[in-house]
């Protein structure tokens, strides 16, 4: 990919040293990718081998082939799509609400300095609070099921989003703000044309963090109160000692979280372009 971009033109051919350097860069990349694949293959291979040779008990650790078989059987009876769909929906809804809500609160706090000062200690306390402690209260207040799970997901992400975005807004170069003022910009224009675009990199970082945190929130919520979803399958599987089910759900969670993170990385690449 990189070689394509920096293809030498006939007018200015690269020197041998430069070609060697480019080749080294390409080789480094191949080496890293190969090693990443090798680690994955080794984990799966050793896991399967140890389970097959009874070095570890498949009853407690399952095995890749059992996970695969479990996945196929769940695909065949169609139940897997319902569980994936529910968890994905809860995560995405929680992710969007927390990201947008947190950013909106940050905007409000940036806009009103006095309000920021007043709420500062409360935000610090809420941020330090282990959100899982609020689980029973959430169930009481919003009911069990999807609404409680989404609330848990939102609670876990929203404070972090607010703090990160507020810091990004506040840390904007004061000279740039003065420049906008010298061009007679009003407060809304300063925010819209300077503060907000200036915080884009921080926003993408927040999205990346929220990908992980929203999965944590959703699974925690499903542990507390659910009748479907991957978190529910993990709890249910462990209760009936079906480790294959637990492992299959965990692997699926890994894949979904990775896919969501990858989507954010693509967004970041597009933004940087």
């Amino acid at each position: 990919m990189k070689n394509k971009k920096i293809k030498p033109s006939p007018a200015a051919p690269y020197s041998k040293a430069h070609e060697k350097y480019l080749k080294k860069l390409a080789n480094d990349k191949i080496f890293v990718i190969c090693f990443q694949i090798l680690i994955l293959v080794a984990i799966i291979g050793l896991w399967e081998l140890f389970a097959a040779t009874s070095v570890v008990d498949p009853f407690f650790v399952s095995s890749p082939s059992r996970v695969f078989n479990m996945f196929i059987s769940m695909v065949q009876d169609g139940s897997i799509w319902q569980h994936i769909g529910i968890t994905l929906l809860e995560t995405l809804v929680g992710f969007v609400i927390a990201t947008l809500g947190g950013t909106l609160i940050a905007i409000l706090l940036w806009w009103n300095r006095r309000l920021r000062k007043i709420l500062e200690p409360y935000i610090v306390v809420i941020n330090s609070l282990p959100k899982i402690a609020l689980g029973p209260i959430i169930i009481l207040w919003v009911g069990s099921g999807m609404s409680a799970i989404i609330t848990m997901c939102v609670l876990i992400c929203i404070v972090l989003t607010t703090i990160s975005m507020l810091n990004a807004f506040i840390s904007c170069d004061t000279d740039k703000i003065q420049l906008m003022k010298s061009m007679h910009a009003n407060k809304f224009q300063i925010f819209w044309k300077l503060i907000l675009p200036n915080a884009t990199n921080e926003f993408i970082s927040v999205l990346k963090i929220n990908v992980g945190m929203s999965w944590v929130g959703t699974i925690m919520g499903e542990y507390l109160s659910s009748s479907a979803g991957l978190g529910y399958l993990i709890v249910y599987g462990s209760q009936i000692f079906n480790i294959d089910l637990v492992m299959t759900s965990t692997v699926l969670l890994c894949l979904l979280a990775a896919a969501m993170y990858f989507a954010i990385c693509m967004l970041e690449k597009w933004h940087k372009r």
């Binding site: 420049l179 003022k181 061009m183």
Partner: protein, 257 residues
Amino acid sequence: MSTLLEFKDVNFFYQTKNAEIHALKDLSFCVDNQSFTSIVGPSGSGKTTILSLIAGLLNKSSGQILLNGKEIEPKNSQIGYMFQRDHLFEWRNIWQNVTLGIELTKPKDADKKKQFARDLLKKYDLYDFISSKPRALSGGMRQRVALIRTLVMQPTLLLLDEPFSALDFQTRLKVCDDVYQIIKSEQKTAILVTHDISEAISMSDKVIVVSSRPATVKHVQMLNLNGETPLSRREDPTFGSYFDLIWKKLTNEKQKD
């Protein structure tokens, strides 16, 4: 030459948690139309405060600041401000950076101003970069873009707050020449705040030396140097004597400080 800007016994205090700071004390000076005036003084003497007062970013505590004989208004379109660093917005391309002021103020003659922006970019060899992001430009080119962004609004008075301080010495001399030529050919009045005495002498018709805080005018030096550009003005035989004179005034202030 008629007077464009006049400071009459201007005082400015700013408040901190611990004290009230007297930044400017009975400051009086005037700036002629289409002239280039530099203000030099010790660090922290309040030079930037003077520019902020003119730009309406701060409000004076007492005294008068007159522009064309009238008390200066807080949002005055006749004034353009150029900061220490170019402060180009990295997420906007060069055209969007240059037309930022038009976007913000939405003037009635926006099309005319946009055409003026195009003309300036062409004139100063930046038109090929209008779709580029600022990171594609050199330090000198970025400063030229920053100046054009200020000139697009067609201000009468340009405030230059150490606009070359972030550049290396060679680029600084080149950009200094470019900026000087642009200001002169666009027939603008400019006030430059700088630490660099030679830069002040090479560009200005008048150098105002201010004291350490609270700033008052300690010395006003009119300059008469031959040369079309700041670089050529540095070759004038009297350049050195002007430098020595201003240096002495400034060192006295520093010693007091």
